[in-house]
């Protein structure tokens, strides 16, 4: 791999965000049974449940999201060995390998979440959500997770938001393709509803909610992988 065009900067960005609006607009979900029978065969290797889930959804092209909790970085992470051909089979093998997680469909989006239920922050109620000028899911999730409403809810739960990546992406050489805003407008929803709506509007990809508790450290991170 050859590196070029490195540029560095230290940043402290302050971006004003989010406004209001109502009404919803998003692509109609595919029938649930259709997406669960898609091929999702992934490499036969041991992976953490969240990684296996992300790989299976990316392989099948089905939008989704995963919420996982973790302890200190020196604590061992349970591994699963996903197997099966269809998305349903692979998802079942993941949850059979790590019973701390369960998967479910939510209006065309597959979620992997703790068996004990969604983390409290993901159940945060939002009066409105408007993706505004965001033209890609990564940017939309970035603005959402650092919005005033989410930041305030996290503070009330004693959670800080770390920003550690992930950061891999791509760009094509030549003229950029035409882009248009995602055009998501929702009202009276929860944070997980909005993340799922972003994944659905993107038609594929996986959001990841990661909550870390280690001693006095209580933090979360939300990202989106195409």
């Amino acid at each position: 791999m050859r590196t070029f065009l490195p540029s560095s900067s230290r940043v402290l960005l302050a971006v004003a965000l989010l406004s209001s609006l109502r009404v919803s607009g998003q692509a109609a979900p595919a029938p649930q049974e259709d997406v669960l029978t898609r091929s999702a065969r992934i490499d036969d290797e041991s992976l953490p449940a969240f990684s296996a889930f992300q790989g299976a959804l990316q392989m099948s092209g089905v939008p989704g999201g995963v919420a996982f909790m973790e302890g200190c970085s020196d604590q061992p992470v349970p591994m699963v060995r996903p197997h099966g051909t269809t998305l349903r089979e692979v998802l079942n093998s993941i949850t059979a390998g790590d019973s701390a997680y369960a998967w479910r469909m939510r209006e065309g989006v597959v979620n992997l979440e703790p068996s004990t239920g969604l983390p409290a922050l993901l159940r945060t109620h939002l009066n409105t959500y408007d993706s505004r000028d965001a033209t890609d899911a990564v940017s939309a999730v970035t603005f959402l997770s650092s919005s005033l409403e989410v930041t305030r809810a996290a503070t009330n739960l004693g959670l800080a938001q770390n920003v550690l990546g992930p950061g891999l992406g791509s760009m094509a050489q030549g003229p950029p393709p035409p882009i248009k805003p995602l055009g998501i407008r929702l009202h009276d929803v929860t944070l997980v509803d909005v993340l799922n709506a972003i994944a659905l509007a993107n038609k594929h990809g996986v959001w990841t909610y990661r909550e870390t508790h280690c001693g006095s450290v209580h933090q979360f991170n939300v990202s989106f992988a195409q």
Partner: protein, 129 residues
């Protein structure tokens, strides 16, 4: 914002470095086919348990003749910021999947970033056999 124009952080307080890559073959010629790229992290060393390993990106689709962008971040959403000596270091490795076959790349990055006695730094050392 990464080199591809994607917003990676907002209200961010910390250290960021953007890099771009191009996959080449053993002769140094650009690899022109589309592929998916995954990364893995290891060898974490940190002065603050809040600064663990990043969540690895997996199966990122890279178009034919495309450029890889990578945005490294270490920090928090404002008002929380890095402490004066908050930093971590780790290794980054890559794998490429093309034609259903996964190839581990020989390039390894050693990354060390954060605040070092009050000085923000993002140091990247690239090893290619």
């Amino acid at each position: 914002v990464d080199c591809g124009g994607v917003q990676r952080a907002s209200n961010f307080c910390g250290v960021n470095r953007n890099l771009t890559y191009q996959l080449v073959d053993q002769t140094g010629a650009p690899f022109l086919l589309a592929y998916t790229l995954s990364e893995s992290f290891s060898n974490l060393s940190t002065t603050n348990p809040a600064l663990g390993l990043p969540t690895p990106s997996q199966n990122v689709p890279i178009p034919a003749n495309g450029i890889v962008t990578d945005a490294q971040f270490v920090g928090f959403t404002y008002p929380q910021c890095l402490g004066s000596n908050d930093h971590h270091s780790y290794k980054q490795n890559f794998s490429v999947k093309v034609g259903g076959v996964t190839y581990n790349l020989s390039t390894t990055l050693s990354i060390s970033n954060g605040n070092f006695s009050g000085t923000p730094q993002d140091n990247v050392s690239i090893t290619t056999p």
